[in-house]
Every structure is written in structure tokens, then in C-alpha cells.
């Protein structure tokens, strides 16, 4: 269990600027003419020991996957193997992006091999590693779909269909790519409503974006029929890879009829989330779509590797070649696990979710679920429920989403948890479920910071230390 610090003023770390800062007269220290320079700059001015203590202290006020269970649904908070940081720290990994292809054959070899691995894992014919995050992958994928339709003189297709339970990024990415979003209501069983889908598709359909298993952890059993409906209407099928950790070696999006997919390397392939990023969102496509992928792309040319622009490339979605170090770590992870390790990863992820689901005293309206489940906090506020779970030394699940489950607690333990830590999580769920509302609404009580006032933060934004003066 996690150690939360005690609550008194000393638990707060003063800001760097409060410790010491200095105003430097810039004009005095430069050989540039005054009219090109600023007059002064005011920034923290501290010794290295002070900085070491500052950030050490801040780290102690933060919870990561090595602090304890972290069952954030849809986020796949799994163990990030240490050795992948070691390979990312190799001096040879730190080359400049403008180096010639001839002088960066090592880097390009990793690109080519990772493209190949991801293609095999997803059942896709071609893969680009350029998108720096999952949402960027979605955007890139829809741009590819758009280019494909335009190339086929179907530029009039103007709509992208997205199930109501999909990640918010799907909606936003489709709009950024110039599409109108058609929201698809779910069926009673939490899956795609085939009738609604048939009603929604048409000759204006550019694509359907689908997560499978969906955000309830349910496999879309009718995936083949769904694919047929979309394809028959001339649309493309897009796979949101956020939940791929459920299916490694069990089923492949390409085999289900998906035309485009993205991979979240920072979820499925164990690269660290880094407090919000960097991630990486490569996309895979079928052979028909390969010529539209971003530029440059990497391919083998005999023993060596080269960069080239795909024939009808959409151009670039990132200034360079994406989040290289993240790609490198994912490559190392895939090599470590191989077929058997990858397959077992999903088996254990699904086992863990099902075991945890079986141990908690809350309603889980939809099933059978795979790597995650969505429980209902019932008549409790799910956000309060989560806050109270903090007092039991664990990270709570994702709350209040998807909305199809009221007061949703979306829970994904991943393969990294043991039966013991799952039991610890179940104890936390069950203890909170048995408590009264006041205890929940005033929680947490054992964390360094108590419940934080979100309303005042938004009403009176103070976004820098200047705003605190």
C-alpha cells in the first residue's frame, strides 16, 4: 500500500521561485545590440543540492505504477520495464533528425523492424510510426481515409460515425480532419446497435471508428457484420487501439476487417506514461491505404534502409519522425516478450480484470468483459467514491465514464497485478462501498493534499507563479 504523507503545512513544497530567484540584467551580459534583446529576465537561482531536494520531494508527492495498483480504465497502466530506459539512453539513440539516412542506418533499422512487428501484431499491411500520440494517430488515420476517398473521387463523404461510448479523442480527431461526427447510440447489451449502424451509414460515410473491446471491455461480437455494413456503404473501418492490451495474440484488428488502426505504444507496449506523455500512436493500414501514409516512410532496400515519400502521402503530422525514444522502448519491449510473452500478456490482463470483477461488491452491468470492466457506484457519486479509495492507499479507477453505466467506475488492472494486489484493490472497493456518504464526500483524508477545489481553480485561473504574487 502507498504511503500518503501526513497533513500539515510542512508537507507542501515551496515553489522554486519562492526559494530564490534572480533578476539578470540581460543587456549587461550580451554582445548583441540592445534593440535586439530583452532588458532582464527573472528566474529561480538555486544550487544543485536544492534542486535535487526540490524534485525528490515533488516525486514523493506523486503516485506511479511502482507506488501501487493503478487500475485506471482505458489507460493501461502496466509495468514499464527498466531496461527499456537503458536502451533509450544509448548515445547512439540521440542522433539529430536531420542526419542523412546513410549515417543513421541503426535508427532506421529500428523503425523498419518496429513497423514490421506492429504490422504483424495488428494484422496490418503497412505501418507508420510518425504520430506522436494516440489522438494524433486517430487524426492521421482519418486524414489517410480522407485522402483515400478523395483519390477515389469520393471526397463528398463527409461523416465519421462514432459510438457514444467511444473516447472523446475520436470525436475531436474526426472534426479536426474536417468531418462531421455522427454519434451512434449503444444497444442494450453495451455493444454496437446494428440497426442504428445500418441507419447511420450511407454514401456520406467516410468511416466508422470503433474500439474493440469497447470501453466497457466487451468484444464487439458482430464485428464481421459491422465491417460488412460499413464496407458495403463504401466506408472505412477504423480501430482505436486503446484497448489492444486485451487481444494480443488472441485476435487481430486486420483480421476483423479493420482498414486503419492506431496503436498506443504507451499503453499496450509498456512505454511509460510520463505523467501525461510522451506516448506514440503509430497507425497500421491495409495495402490499399499504404500509399497515403505520412512522409517520410522507412523501407528496407536490400541490407540497408531508406526514407521515401509514399506516392500519395498526406504529408506530415509531426515535425520529425514522431516520438523516437518511445518507439525505441516499445521495440525493445516487443523483442523481450515475443509471441508467447505478448499472448500471455493479454491472457493475464483479462484474467486479472475478471478476477477483480468477481471480488467486488458492486454491480457490473455489462459482460462478459475482457481486460477492463465498468462497475457502477450505484447511488454514490463515482468521483467521491474514487476520492475515498485514495484513503485506502490505491489509485482509483476512471470515473463517470462511459455514461452508459451510471456513476461508472471503469477499472483496468492490467497483467502486472498479482492476486495479492488485486485483493487489496477489491478490499478498497468493498470498504468504500460499505461507507456512508459523508465519508465519501469529504474524502480523501489521508493524502498530502485534501480534496482540491476545482471550481475556484477554473473560476479564478492562476496559471503561473506570477499569478500568485
Amino acid at each position: 500500500q502507498a504511503v500518503w504523507s501526513e497533513t500539515d503545512d510542512s508537507r507542501y513544497e515551496t515553489l522554486l521561485a519562492e526559494k530564490n530567484e534572480q533578476t539578470v540584467d540581460v543587456e549587461e551580459r550580451t554582445t548583441l545590440p540592445d534593440e535586439l534583446t530583452r532588458e532582464s529576465v527573472t528566474l529561480p537561482e538555486l544550487s544543485e543540492p536544492e534542486i535535487a531536494r526540490h524534485y525528490t520531494r515533488l516525486s514523493q508527492m506523486n503516485y506511479g505504477v511502482e507506488s501501487g495498483p493503478f487500475p485506471l480504465g482505458s489507460c493501461t497502466m502496466k509495468y514499464n520495464p527498466k531496461f527499456t530506459e537503458e536502451v533509450a539512453a544509448l548515445a547512439d539513440a540521440a542522433v539529430h533528425p536531420d542526419r542523412s539516412a546513410e549515417s543513421t542506418q541503426g535508427t532506421l533499422a529500428v523503425y523498419a523492424r518496429l513497423q514490421d512487428y506492429l504490422g504483424r501484431i495488428g494484422g496490418m499491411d503497412a505501418v507508420t510510426l510518425q504520430p506522436p500520440a494516440g489522438a494524433s494517430g486517430e487524426f492521421t488515420g482519418i486524414l489517410v481515409a480522407r485522402a483515400y476517398h478523395e483519390h477515389n473521387d469520393e471526397g463528398n463523404r463527409s461523416k465519421v460515425i462514432v459510438p457514444a461510448s467511444a473516447h472523446g479523442t475520436n470525436f475531436a480527431s474526426a472534426v479536426m480532419a474536417g468531418y462531421e461526427v455522427v454519434e451512434l447510440p449503444p444497444s442494450d447489451d453495451g455493444r454496437v446497435d446494428i440497426d442504428a449502424l445500418e441507419a447511420a451509414v450511407g454514401d456520406d460515410t467516410a468511416a466508422l471508428m470503433l474500439t474493440n473491446p469497447n470501453t466497457l471491455g466487451l468484444f464487439e461480437r458482430d464485428i464481421e457484420e459491422i465491417a460488412e455494413i460499413v464496407h458495403d456503404a463504401g466506408g472505412l473501418l477504423y480501430y482505436d487501439g486503446a484497448n489492444l492490451n486485451a487481444l494480443l495474440g488472441q485476435a487481430r484488428p486486420g483480421d476483423m476487417g479493420f482498414d486503419i488502426m492506431h496503436f498506443n505504444l504507451h499503453k499496450t507496449f509498456a512505454t511509460p506514461h510520463g505523467g501525461g506523455g510522451p506516448g506514440a500512436g503509430p497507425i497500421g493500414v491495409t495495402a490499399d491505404l499504404a500509399e497515403f501514409l505520412p512522409s517520410p516512410h522507412v523501407r528496407a532496400d536490400g541490407e540497408s534502409y531508406e526514407l521515401y515519400e509514399p506516392e500519395r502521402s498526406i504529408g506530415k503530422v509531426h515535425g520529425a519522425m514522431g516520438n523516437w525514444l518511445v518507439l525505441l522502448k516499445a521495440y525493445a519491449y516487443i523483442e523481450r516478450l515475443g509471441d508467447e510473452g505478448l499472448t500471455d500478456t493479454s491472457a493475464k490482463a483479462v484474467l486479472n480484470a475478471n478476477y477483480l470483477g468477481s471480488q467486488i461488491d458492486l454491480d457490473i452491468p455489462f459482460g462478459p468483459f475482457h481486460h477492463e470492466f465498468v462497475a457502477s457506484a450505484g447511488d454514490r457519486d463515482a468521483a467521491d467514491f474514487a476520492k475515498r479509495m485514495l484513503d485506502y492507499g490505491v489509485h482509483p479507477p476512471t470515473t463517470k465514464w462511459p455514461e452508459i453505466v451510471s456513476e461508472a467506475l471503469m477499472t483496468e488492472p492490467t497483467e502486472m497485478e498479482s492476486q495479492d494486489t488485486l485483493d487489496q484493490l477489491a478490499d478498497a472497493f468493498n470498504a468504500v462501498a460499505g461507507e456512508n456518504e459523508e465519508s465519501l464526500s469529504t474524502a480523501p483524508s489521508s493524502t498530502a493534499a485534501r480534496r482540491i477545489d476545482q471550481t475556484s481553480a477554473a473560476r479564478n485561473p492562476r496559471l503561473s507563479w506570477h499569478a500568485l504574487e
Binding site: S59, Q250, G275, A320, E415, S464
Partner: protein
């Protein structure tokens, strides 16, 4: 309660997945609790789409993978890079790895539970504060992916905040084409297109710019320093021109340059973008940190994450993600951007680097970026047939040099000698020098002397 020696297990681990802890006995006990016969039974996947093939990827030990990756990357040539053009190397002190690799930072998620994420939130708040200080603008977000996507998001922001509709984003012709390509892709969902205006002798000429601005201009984008290393001299005029036409003025730069060069807020910049990972990270093949700062009145239209100060239930200062209703997970198709995962960990590294340098150290590092290219250009200019710098401007970190021989050949020959430079056009190469490669300067000059002859 005294803690006694607990139930002791003695079980063998199921070893296929090295990062799953289950013993065989665990698996059986868990299946029993679930009421399932086998793990396979837990999958609700129609047999027609079940995968029964193999990826053909062999598993390897950690030792083998480390060796394989080392050997593979060793195929990269050992070159001393004199490359820049938007991605710069400065010495990264050891403390940054040591602190940022602490698992509480590295393996944490976006701060959706701020009560147990105060550490990262404060670090991001401090990162924002540093950018506010450096740009003079009131708002900085927690990061975009890189400079190119930050520029693209700035254009979308400019479109949203503009009172009247417009159709053009006007960009200096010195901006890298990679950035323009990203910008164009991001504009697909809008009515805007990108146009460039011509620069004169490596910098913006106010007259030429004014000629290209119309009331359709939504945003003017200029970089300082430019992609060829020159320092712009008429930014206030750019700001005035933008204001006249109700266009946003977006300035591209980086945190080292910001410590020395004209403060963006003083020249009328509305948005500042760029790559902040010039501090905190190696060139990393272009893994970046999109800097994004803007005026306070754009606040509710900002893309990406913002950390704000607040109070907790004990009235203590606390930090939290704020104004999340701008974001995709709440606003979905009406969000200010689709960005979700960003570059937070790089922002942490950059903040540590700024703190490590301190105000004095950062300004001095920036001044070094003025002096080093000046000295190197002079050395190169002494070589027969070489003119450096090409532009009669002040430079920051880099400059163009004119060579008598074909620039591509010069670059290739330098590569054979262990140096990487950028060939710009037929007879120009671009050369970047910082504290990271300065110790190789004399050898570099000698190599240039050899290859241009």
C-alpha cells in the same frame, strides 16, 4: 497488532510473460474464484476472428535485447553534428536523468487525481511559470507534441479567437517545410490555407510582409531566430501589421533564445510556439516538446492541458489540471484540440534544466549561442572561397556559409570526415554550434578547409 510472519507461499511462476507476477497456483485460484475453467474461456471472441497464427517474433532475454538494440544502433555513424534548424543540442546535466527517471514521475499518469499527483502538477505549474516569464505572455500550457504541431494549433486558435472570418495563414518563407506540411494538415478541417511571404537577406522585410497581408490574414507566423539562424530585427513592426489587420501574431522560438532576445510580449506577439526541449533532452531524432504560450484573453480557447493553483479542503495551496472543459475528453467534437497524451515528462525535464541553469546560467548559455557562431563563421570565412555568414545579420547558434563546391558534395565529404552539416542549396551549407559541439570546432574548421578545396 503485532505483525507475524505471514502465510508463506512457495510457488513457481508462470513465466511466459516476464512482467506478469502470477504463479501457476495463482492462476488456478483466480479461475476458481471467477468460476471459469480456463483463461481461454474468459475471451468472448468469435472463433472466426480468433488469431491462431504466430507473429514470428521470438522472445529474448533482457541481456539479448540490450545487446541487439546496442548493436543495431551502432550502425549509426559516429558523427559530430553541426546540425540545428529548430532542433538543438545543449549539454544535459546528469541530474535531469536522475530525477526525471524516478518512477513516481516517469510511470505516473495524467493528473486526474490531483490529491496524489501534487508533485508532477507543481513541476508543470513551474514549467508554465518559466515560460510565462520568458515569453512575457500570461498563459503557457503543459506542452504540445512539438514545434510543428504547436504552430498548427496556434493557427486553429487564431481562427477561433478572431472576430471575423479569414482564410490565410501567412508564414515567413524561412520556415521549415516540415512545419508547413503539418500546419497544412491541421488546417484541413478549417477554411484556411497557408501562404508564405518572401524574406530579404535572411529576415522579414516589413514592406514585403505588408504587401502580403490582407484582411483575410488570420495569423502571421515568424520565427526568431529563424531556421537559418538569423535574428529578426523588425518584430515590433510585424506586431503592428498584424494588429492592423486583426491577425494574430505568432512567434516561433525556443527557451534559450527567449532568455536573451526581445521579449515576445514586447513586440506584440499573441502566441509563442517552438520546441522547448532544446533544454532537457538530446536531439532524440526529433522527439520534441511543443512550447505554447499566449495572451490571457485567449485562455478559454487554448489547446492542451493547463495546471492551475487552487486550495485543498484544508485551505492549503494545491495544484490541479484546470479549464478541462476545453478538452476532448469532456467537450469531444467541440474541444479546442484532440490532444490528450502530450509531452509532460519532457516538460518536467526542461523545467529541471532551467532550474539547474538558473537565471544567470540561462542568459549566459544564450549569449554563448551568439558568440560561438560569430567566431566559427569568422574562422570559416578565412577559408579560401568560403563566405560566412551569408546573411549580414546577427546569428543565434547557426548560420549559412557559401561554399565554392556543390553543397551536397561538401556535406557528404564532411560526413566522411565525421561531421554532419545541412546542405541548404547548391552552394550553401548550414552550420550550428553550441556548447555541445564546441570542443570539436577546430577539427571541424580543418575538415571544411579540406573538403571545400
Amino acid at each position: 497488532m503485532s505483525q507475524q510472519f505471514q502465510d508463506k507461499k512457495s510457488e513457481s511462476r508462470s513465466t511466459e510473460s516476464p512482467f506478469a507476477p502470477h504463479t501457476e497456483e495463482d492462476v488456478q485460484a483466480m479461475l476458481d474464484a471467477i468460476g471459469a475453467e480456463s483463461v481461454e474461456d474468459l475471451f468472448d471472441v468469435p472463433s472466426s476472428v480468433q488469431f491462431d497464427g504466430s507473429f514470428g517474433i521470438e522472445s529474448s532475454s533482457e541481456q539479448e535485447v540490450v545487446r541487439d538494440v546496442s548493436d543495431t544502433l551502432a550502425r549509426n555513424d559516429q558523427l559530430t553534428e553541426f546540425l540545428g534548424r529548430g532542433r538543438y543540442e545543449h549539454y544535459v546535466p546528469s541530474i535531469i536523468d536522475n530525477l526525471s527517471l524516478r518512477s513516481e514521475f516517469l510511470t505516473s499518469y495524467t493528473q486526474y487525481q490531483p490529491e496524489i499527483a501534487q508533485g508532477f502538477l507543481q513541476a508543470l505549474f513551474e514549467y508554465q511559470s518559466m515560460l510565462v516569464e520568458l515569453t512575457g505572455l500570461e498563459v503557457a500550457n503543459c506542452s504540445m507534441y512539438d514545434a510543428a504541431t504547436a504552430l498548427a494549433e496556434a493557427a486553429l486558435l487564431a481562427d477561433r479567437v478572431r472576430g471575423t472570418s479569414g482564410s490565410k495563414v501567412l508564414v515567413s518563407d524561412l520556415v521549415r517545410e516540415e512545419r508547413l506540411s503539418v500546419l497544412e494538415n491541421y488546417l484541413i478541417g478549417s477554411d484556411m490555407t497557408v501562404e508564405t511571404y518572401p524574406t530579404v537577406d535572411g529576415a522579414t522585410d516589413p514592406t514585403a510582409l505588408a504587401d502580403n497581408v490582407t484582411d483575410e490574414t488570420v495569423m502571421i507566423y515568424v520565427e526568431n531566430p529563424t531556421a537559418v539562424g538569423t535574428i529578426e530585427e523588425n518584430l515590433s513592426t510585424v506586431g503592428d501589421i498584424a494588429e492592423e489587420h486583426d491577425a494574430a501574431f505568432c512567434l516561433g522560438t525556443d527557451p534559450v533564445a527567449l532568455a536573451l532576445l526581445e521579449e515576445p510580449s514586447n513586440v506584440g506577439a499573441d502566441v509563442v510556439v517552438g520546441d522547448a526541449s532544446a533544454l532537457g533532452l538530446s536531439p532524440a531524432y526529433g522527439l520534441g516538446l511543443g512550447l505554447f504560450a499566449c495572451r490571457e484573453d485567449y485562455l478559454r480557447q487554448v489547446p492542451g492541458r493547463l495546471v492551475g493553483a487552487s486550495e485543498d479542503a484544508n485551505d492549503n495551496r494545491a495544484y490541479t489540471l484546470t479549464l478541462q472543459t476545453r478538452e476532448q475528453h469532456i467537450r469531444r467534437e467541440r474541444a479546442t484540440s484532440n490532444i490528450c497524451t502530450n509531452q509532460a515528462w519532457v516538460a518536467l525535464r526542461t523545467a529541471i534544466h532551467v532550474a539547474w541553469l538558473g537565471a544567470t546560467g540561462l542568459v549566459d548559455l544564450a549569449e554563448e549561442c551568439v558568440q560561438l557562431p560569430r567566431e566559427l563563421a569568422a574562422d570559416l570565412n578565412d577559408i579560401d572561397g568560403v563566405t560566412a555568414p551569408v546573411h549580414d545579420r546577427h546569428h543565434f547558434r547557426e548560420f549559412l556559409a557559401e561554399t565554392p563546391r556543390d553543397a551536397e558534395r561538401v556535406a557528404a565529404d564532411l560526413e566522411s570526415n565525421g561531421f554532419a552539416v545541412h546542405a541548404v542549396d547548391e552552394h550553401q551549407v548550414q552550420v550550428c554550434i553550441t556548447d555541445a559541439n564546441r570542443s570539436e570546432r577546430d577539427e571541424f574548421v580543418e575538415a571544411v578547409r579540406e573538403v571545400v578545396a
